[in-house]
Symmetry: C2
Subunit: 150 residues, 2 copies
Amino acid sequence: MSEQTSFSADNEWQKLENQLCFPIYAVSRLLTKAYQPYLQTLDLTYPQYLVLLALWEHENLTVKELGEKLLLDSGTLTPLLKRMEQKQWLSRRRDPRDERSVIITLLPAGRALQQQACQVPHQLLDKMGLAPAEFEALRLQLQTLLTRLS
Amino acid sequence: MSEQTSFSADNEWQKLENQLCFPIYAVSRLLTKAYQPYLQTLDLTYPQYLVLLALWEHENLTVKELGEKLLLDSGTLTPLLKRMEQKQWLSRRRDPRDERSVIITLLPAGRALQQQACQVPHQLLDKMGLAPAEFEALRLQLQTLLTRLS
DNA sequence: TCAATTTTAATTGCACACAATCAAACATTG
DNA sequence: CAATGTTTGATTGTGTGCAATTAAAATTGA
């Protein structure tokens, strides 16, 4: 009975190792870093890669729609998209029917990246070393949490 | 049979919804945002909260040790720690026995925050709405992935 | 119709995050 | 003990992230 029985300062809930937030935060950053060597050869950052994943599925998206898919706001997307525009991967133009909206359109150079990046998911899967069942279980749990938080 | 039978561009592995990276990235950002209202009342950011979690367990840590615990490098920690020093939550001083190292020491104001923040983990647990078993399962899977990636 | 409200992207300001580089100081080795 | 190499924190530069604000344009409602 050497354990504390009082509600003392050694709060188990305040220990780093007992947090759920920390491993998520750390895994997210390490995973981004794990992509870096593959994306660097394509002159892509990780958030830019996510934008392309979205545009490869939908060639035209407004900034708002892109933000809804990636859960990012325009304050993040606007400068990022301007950099991608400079590299001729996409174009930014106002919607003539709604001058408030900016339409993002995939350009040929951006489409060309799709072929060059097609091995990236497999390479990362290898690096993570998760069995298919583990992968799917984790993805579903994160999906649940994502719904809960958004 | 209108579906493509060629190995065409609609690569299933390149769809946003089939990625593991995206939900981790998104959950991490949403979780940080979920902490914000609670931490804001304490004038804390989420990474600063993580630094305090570490210091509440170990009152003295070098920047290097802190980086090892949080998996952050000095380029991130140095400016963050300087801001926390200005608020008198911690002190930064050279190790007299090794002038290269900077020792971070928790100050009384930083210790006082521990009591004020003690409800934060419970509040977040509520917000996430995970059953204890789900929580633990997710934590273990992330721990595995963390080990694999670091 | 026309004033008030809402929607939208841009802008601004602050805080990470990290690669690359640097400089100082410690450690090692001959 | 001196030359060399390594460790360490700081610095610099780029790229996110996001809250708050702004400005323009569309929508709504009397």
